[in-house]
Amino acid sequence: MEAEVLATLWAAESALTAGDVQERLASPLAYSTVVTILSRLHAKGTLEREQQGRAYAYRPVADEPGLAARRMRQVLDAEANRQQVLARFVSDLSHEDERMLRRLLADQPGDEIG
């Protein structure tokens, strides 16, 4: 659940209040649960917050885990050259694949596909 809340905040352009987060989550979560998760993440130093009206608005700390993130990027860059341990969510598309994919998804309800 925590991961989902964090992902939501990272995907947002601006700081979000607990109410905003709750609205943007795909899974139905009680307001109080969202507040708990947010304050826990804040206590861990993952999120920073500012007063916004009567509530706190949260955003991810810019360069969150600093060193770990930098090292991770190095590994991923190396990984891009020699596909090894890390499974990638999506693999490469050929032009034919792209056409087929757009056709498959075009029949689906939901928002526009970039």
Binding site: E2, A3, E4, L6, A7, T8, W10, A11, R24, L25, A26, S27, K44, G45, T46, P60, D63, E64, P65, L67, A68, A69, R71, M72, R73, V75, L76, E79, A80, N81, Q83, Q84, V85, L86, A87, R88, F89, V90, S91, D92, L93, S94, E96, D97, E98, M100, L101, R102, L104, L105, D107, Q108, P109, G110, D111, I113, G114
Partner: protein, 312 residues
Amino acid sequence: MIFAVYLPLMMPALAVPVVRWVAARLHPTWASWLVLVSAVILGVCSTAALGLLMLAALSVMRLFARLGHWSPAEVRHLDAVHLPVDVSASVLLLVFGVMTISAGVRRIRAIVEAYRMASECPDGTELMVLRDDRPLAHALPGRPGRIVVSTTMLASLAPAERRALLAHERAHLAEAHHLFVAVIDVLAAANPLLRPLTGVIRYTTERWADEVAASHVGDRSVVARAVGKAALVAKSLGTATLPGIAMAATAGPVPRRVAALLTPAPTNRITPMLMSLTGLCAIVAFAMTTGSIVSSLDAATDLHRILELAQH
């Protein structure tokens, strides 16, 4: 030597296409296990067969004959040795052996490195977000494993799709899919005939994670959209193409995954699976792999008997 020894060597050529065909139709969890188990059996048996041929070649060398107290002339007389075949088998065994060990070392190093990375992540954070223009999403194995995604990936997806993505990566970690892939890669080094299975196992484990995500989110089309969008974003940013990867003319893995998610869930129950043509072929594949165990044991017994007969 004995006919039985050639069977395990040729069996991958026969069994791999069958395994491949079945794996594309079976529930991805079963498919992954089928690929893993049959590759292990085929790989181990074909290596054992090469080993037997090498033993046959060694058996006529004076040094080994003296050690085992048998007569090289007698071994030859019993028709146990065809030197050109046995010597080529020995060369193959040495070449594949070196390749296997180096592949194994590479995989183990990469996994150790991943574990180290994961342990360096802050405690209690399952999700690591990287500020990156590329749409990245990876499962980083470790104890505990981490999910690594880029800001671009998160921003490209709708809330439900983000949830699907997280569930997908979590499934990779929970089911240790990196081990499936690593084992098949190492076996492919031991026997190049198994190489097609490296692509198959990557596909079936992705499908497996897709199915887990679909049942977690409760809507297959959401997962389909997440996979499809991520691939299209990667394509439009021109980041996903790596040198040296041939573009297949037929449908690549991503459209096949999306298409599979847009159809009803594959059955996970054994009875209907075994009753189908796919199940029948799975049994054929299983019989073939078992055949290679039987024949390599057969060949080993044969060689042993011949050497015993040739003993003074």
